[in-house]
Symmetry: C3
Subunit: 227 residues, 3 copies
Amino acid sequence: MKAVIVSALPVARIIDISHDVPPGDISAAQYLLGRVWRHFPDRTIHVVVVDPGVGTARRAIAAEVGGHRFVAPDNGVLTPVLDQGSIVELSISHDASPTFHGRDVFAPAAVRLAKGEPLAVLGPVVTNPMRSPLPQPRREGREVVGVVVYVDRFGTLITNIPAEWARPGSRLRVNHATVPALTTFGDVNPGELVAFAGSGGTMEIAVRDGSATRKLDAGVGAEIRLI
Amino acid sequence: MKAVIVSALPVARIIDISHDVPPGDISAAQYLLGRVWRHFPDRTIHVVVVDPGVGTARRAIAAEVGGHRFVAPDNGVLTPVLDQGSIVELSISHDASPTFHGRDVFAPAAVRLAKGEPLAVLGPVVTNPMRSPLPQPRREGREVVGVVVYVDRFGTLITNIPAEWARPGSRLRVNHATVPALTTFGDVNPGELVAFAGSGGTMEIAVRDGSATRKLDAGVGAEIRLI
Amino acid sequence: MKAVIVSALPVARIIDISHDVPPGDISAAQYLLGRVWRHFPDRTIHVVVVDPGVGTARRAIAAEVGGHRFVAPDNGVLTPVLDQGSIVELSISHDASPTFHGRDVFAPAAVRLAKGEPLAVLGPVVTNPMRSPLPQPRREGREVVGVVVYVDRFGTLITNIPAEWARPGSRLRVNHATVPALTTFGDVNPGELVAFAGSGGTMEIAVRDGSATRKLDAGVGAEIRLI
């Protein structure tokens, strides 16, 4: 994909966001995209090819949101930006490999956008893109029930519970552990569990100098209760 | 290596092709190189330092093929391009580390080429470079016997059987499984095996939303029969 | 972090040195930094965010050494360069995430330096930075006692014993094995152990076409005797 891009547009600048999305994990890709896209400059083109459905009937799409452009399979991976922008369907050429649209569909579309072609030129408008929103937390009496939506490379559990829902004295329960909501790693001793408002705006559970996913034997999908 | 390159030539653009070649795996590197090099722009310099023999008598070489240049150990890793171009031997300076030619031999040679020095200036012509061609499929009666030459990060088995040798109704046999040759992932249900003409021009065996190497317990070198 | 940098300074060039530092491993990061920084061009800004103490009382610092600049937590990771340059403390804004100073403290500081602000403008001088020097080898009679300070991705054991302390006929002992100090991989057969003066200036122990860490069951901290 990089070769296709630089061959067509030598001045293109390519930045790798992550090499750690598990194969076909649309939720993880969606989480990462939702976290990072706004930090990039206007006019960035985000090439989001997490595409387990390549070769199925799923469409290929491009979207534009506030100066940013996106190319991706229509499998929900663009959910974080779909509500805000315009969307078109990319055509899939007959000679595209039926198993490598990254090289033959998405990279060429990214090049066209980078060269200045307007989104509308790339294909017909899509009004019903697939959405696969990450699970939302719900209130249950005085508690909030959420889940882990991502585990980072440090083993920190990132939940879907908005940080502003926690208060001084809040605790998070996961499996059989109860973890106090504090501010940061410095609030506990090495090896201890701590919960805090994470850098992405939701509550996270970590172990200082350790791995919460290992200590708690909990991963993506684990239920988290904010008490 | 990157530091050496940008120190000598600040405008050099560096693109990582893969961080996933297993240590010393000349076959894997050769397969990847054969797949990608043509997609890069003319005048690209490919720095291919998969070099288990560093510090042995193996030579260091540079090659030029249709506007592309290559620097690599003379261990067969350049086999995909050797038949088409000119080849020279790189000198190995006395103060080069005997275990890190990437930094002290290949990166400096790449810089010289990038600065415009012609290949012939870098060393004497080599007429007998080492070749280690990937195994070739053979016909056996009405069947074709090939092997897996690469397994990608999705667990897909990539064979050496040219895609055009398969016909409607063909099947691939590996271990005790028989897999129909179809077109793409959409032709089977999640979890099922499928074979298809891969994006590199040879037959591949995959599991939709899964890993063929795991499901079939087969990897590089496994025999594949096209029936 | 990359998004923050390119948004503020589109012409910035970013080079990844390693994706393989284990989480929070200050020693490994320090070893790598000590190896590579001098190879980069003058005026390089090294962003060294291996930061297990984020959110503790540890300071954030910037340093300047011979035309190179560094931003990092004050946790010892800059030890290889601290003796030679000037050091200042970076301020940590109130709205910085208490768990992601890479994005909110170090990347912005790197941008300021890259834009030409002098180090002194970034904060008050630090005279007592934290140091965590890698262990030093000691002489014990006619032997030298060192340790493994790093294991590379090939499984090679990199020691802290200066290469110039070895002589023809020297041997290295690790666990129950005794390994001859030779010159390079070509001096032994595939699968055999060999010690040599490594490309970083200290003795290394490797297995030709194999992994010394696996063959010797030895890793970082293992005692090495030069005999």
